[in-house]
């Protein structure tokens, strides 16, 4: 059979279009199903109250607070470390076997399943360093998981700053650090922020890394120090979905909705940072 180029064009368009639709449709269906089923559970009280009656009633406040703590703590640890490593790789290190090894390690680190990070954190932070199951141990574990994302996106953002800016700045009597501080970092900042938000987003949504390192099944009060355990949204969701008999369905969906909003908000934030960066770029 011979098809005209108009017919092949039509077929190609249909195939590509339906592939796109098949990718997008499940996301929309899943998200709307969760939001619709969770809507009746959502209320001001559900957000800000402690759980009651074996978590079958009341709110999820400690889980929201806990996830916020974990995200902030992970950020405080992983952003300075990741940014430092990225600046070293992009601005200071010369291309060598050493830097290639570091890059291979980073790429491989990004591919490790999250439960492995959890076990590593259990071994190193909880047991060996005797931090116990605590917010600090969980944040350290999540940081190791987040670092590859932050390092590679930040390095990419730094490298995207034209080399000519560096040459001009050095040529005008700038030191390398002055050049980084005044030109390279400000120019790369939106790209770096995007990577940071995406990395922390993953940290906020993961269960396995905090399972053995800091997440609590149930706590009647909020954590009072970084050496306390904490509840967290993803783990709480896992618990009420599988571990508590007689759990009202709308509370499960309500919790999932809150977690989704948490993560989606961060994603939207990352996307708007990126588009804001494109608009204000001056080169």
């Amino acid at each position: 059979m011979h098809l005209s180029r108009y017919q092949t064009e039509r077929i190609a368009f249909m195939v590509i279009g339906s592939a796109t639709l098949l990718t997008v449709a499940p996301i929309i269906i899943v998200i709307s199903a969760i939001f619709i089923s969770g809507a009746e559970a959502i209320s001001w009280e559900f957000i800000v109250e402690m759980p009651r009656d074996g978590m079958r009633a009341g709110g999820i406040w400690p889980a929201i607070v806990g996830t916020t703590y974990l995200a902030i703590g992970t950020g405080l640890i992983s952003v300075p470390l990741g940014l430092g490593a990225a600046i070293y790789l992009s601005e200071y290190a010369r291309e060598s076997a050493w830097t290639r090894t570091i890059r291979v390690a980073i790429v491989n680190l990004a591919g490790i399943p999250s439960v492995v990070y959890g076990l590593f954190g259990l071994g190193l932070f909880v047991l060996f360093l005797k931090l116990g199951s605590s917010i600090i141990a969980a944040c350290l574990t999540l940081s190791i998981m987040t670092l590859p994302v932050i390092i590679s996106t930040a390095e990419e953002a730094l490298r995207a700053v034209p080399q000519s800016f560096r040459v001009v700045s050095i040529g005008m009597g700038g030191t390398r650090w002055q050049t980084i501080r005044r030109i390279v970092l400000p120019q790369a900042m939106p790209g770096i922020l995007t990577g940071v938000i995406l990395g922390l987003n993953r940290a906020a949504g993961e269960t396995a890394p905090i399972l053995f390192t800091g997440a609590a099944f149930f706590l009647p009060r909020l954590p009072s120090s970084i050496f306390d355990q904490t509840m967290a949204l993803p783990y709480h969701l896992f618990v009420i979905s599988t571990q508590v008999p007689g759990m009202p369905l709308q509370i499960q969906y309500g919790t999932a909705s809150v977690l989704l909003v948490f993560v989606l908000t961060m994603n939207i934030l990352a996307a708007s940072v990126r588009s804001w960066q494109r608009r204000k770029r001056q080169w």
Partner: protein, 258 residues
Amino acid sequence: MVNIAKTETKISIDHLYVRYEDDGTESLRDIHFDIPIHAITALFGPAGGGKSTLLRTLNRLNDMVDVSTRGSVLLDGVDIFSSNIDVVTLRRRVGIVFAQPIPLPFSISRNIRYGLELAGENRRSRLDDAVERSLRAAALWDEVKDRLGDPAIALSGGQQQRLCIARVLALEPEVLMLDEPTSGLDPISTAKVEASLQLLKQDYTVIIAPSSIQQTARIADWAAFMLQGELVEWNRGEDLFSAPRNKKTEDYITGRFG
């Protein structure tokens, strides 16, 4: 070679070899000449002759890439490669303007202030003075005085190149190096840049890699003909163009190759 004992020497280059280590090419071989103070010295010759490399060597900008250097470059009698020279200070004393105008991603006035801020100057009045003074010296002030806060990238190509010159002048260097500063410019902008160079040489030592032989002939007090990493001939501009002593120089300036 020519004796310039009557004029004072600013930079003295002696048996300079520069080799790029990453690909092993020798970019400069046995360069040996003097650059007089308060004059325009033009480095000219076909592409690949080592003009840019020589300029980038004179303020050690080549330190940023993998090069090895032999020989000496004396600035006011002090070797710029000696270990006790402060390379940051050297680059303030020997400023460079590149072929492509590269405005930094700031406003017009911040582009000028930038170099001074690096050196720790933060007095507003000093900075504002420097902006006006150097923009005037680069013949750009009248065109931009009402929009100093605009992004520098919004300027035309010719204006950007004069901004880059002004930016270096703000540092009050002793030596001003320009690597084909008019290569992308229209004849009117080129004339403006050349006119300002004639004024600048009274206060500075100017080294330029001109964009063309004609430009070399127009502006060079001293001219150095460079071919494939070697200095072929060096003389007063008028003498070199009226009576070249080397056959290769003659062939090049009469258009037989290049």
